[in-house]
Assembly symmetry: C2
Homo-oligomer: 254 residues x 2
């Protein structure tokens, strides 16, 4: 990425908080003593700053003093909240992967068909990556740094593939490779969204010039993943175009 | 990656050089004046150091003085060889993607079947990522930072998919998504190789405990990509198990 900025510090952007915090504040139920509230706010600022920095450079490329400077917090205070860089990274993983996954689980809890369920989840993840580019960047950057089969979104994907196989809805004789394929396709689609998702980007023009199109990446990705799980191309396309359930937008919980 | 080292500087590892350099040196044909040779050697050391550092942290996470220190070269000398960090990055891209792609092209130039060709290339890429973990890391880290449809391995993949479609060997009505899928699957497989490819790794044990297996990832990946291109699962598996052409090992040229 030859055009990457030399210093990745940017004006702070709002990063969504877990809903319990927002709700408590909105409803005026915030009865925390001032000191506890301040401590929590400082912790949130540190996590926000770490999120922005690590999304750009990965954990190894960020120093603790850069996090505290970006958060406008004294260096020493960091250790009132986190033991180490690894600890704040774990807090980020929770925010990036688990909170979103929990919200998705709530969203599709009444969807009986494993194929529909997986298509909804993939589309929501891609829509969020489009809406919040930093979130997508973090997902891309960190998904490959752990096998991610035992936590977060990877664990959920593996679980959902397994359920579809058990229900004989999916035909996936090599479950490990089906997991690799589904995860790899979604991540590559996140990257495509980030680079060419805007119809007016130079990349989109380039792709159009090659006779291809960048529209509807979430739906096309969902359809493609379903076909790798043995759903026919025609049925997969129909499922991927169904209206999304939006009773609880995933971003509120993540 | 909570266990990542705080400082990624490691003892220098040998990074393969373009074959023309090795050949010239081996054959005693190196008639460069000493100064020119020294300049080239310094340049190579800088590229090697940048390769190691950027594979771990990406371009944005590495400063020029870190590259010169790791290469044991004075800071100012950097600018005798490269105008900027972007310029040394471009040299790396050449090494990581184009040299290897050229070697693959030579390797499969007599393979007539587009399906066989793509399977060989995928297997060679995965074998190289296993043999040279830093190479695999670089591929993973940087493949998503550009759309990569107009250069390096991505360009070749898109070209090869297009050839197979034109020859009616592949059935891929959505070429853009087929490219995303093939690329995404290969990259996820590289990540899987890196994390679980050793049969004795804890991740491999975990995956086995879930009733899955980590063996033969290159062959399984090639087979899976072929099925996303419309080749039947049975034929794809047979093609992916064919003996690899090794008339010219790709690492010699990359």
């Amino acid at each position: 990425m030859p055009s990457a900025p030399k210093t990745p510090l940017k004006p702070a952007k709002t990063v969504s908080r877990p809903s319990r915090v927002n709700k408590a504040a909105d409803a005026g139920e915030d009865r925390e003593p001032r000191q506890a509230r301040r401590k929590r706010e400082t912790r949130d600022r540190l996590v926000d700053a770490a999120f922005r920095l690590m999304a750009e450079r990965g954990m190894a490329g960020v120093a603790i003093n850069e996090i505290t400077e970006a958060a406008d917090v004294g260096f020493g205070s960091f250790y009132n909240h986190f033991e180490s860089k690894e600890a704040i990274y774990d807090a980020l993983i929770d925010r990036v992967f688990n909170d979103f996954g929990d919200a998705l689980d709530r969203l599709v809890k009444d969807v009986a068909d494993p194929a529909e369920m997986i298509a909804y989840c993939i589309r929501h993840a891609l829509l969020r990556a489009r809406r919040e580019p930093l979130w997508g960047q973090f997902l891309l950057r960190e998904s490959y740094s752990s096998l991610a089969m035992t936590k977060g979104l990877g664990q959920r994907l593996l679980r959902d593939i397994g359920r579809g196989v058990a229900a004989k809805r999916f035909h996936a004789p090599d479950v490990f490779m089906s997991f690799i394929a589904a995860g790899g396709i979604v991540l590559a689609a996140v990257a495509a969204e980030q680079m060419a998702g805007s119809e007016t980007s130079p990349q989109a023009a380039l792709i159009k010039g090659m006779g291809m199109t960048v529209g509807n990446i979430p739906e096309r990705t969902a359809a493609l993943v379903l076909t790798t799980l043995g759903v026919s191309a025609k049925e997969a396309a129909a499922i991927a175009r169904k209206p999304l359930p939006v009773t609880e937008p995933p971003q509120a919980g993540a």
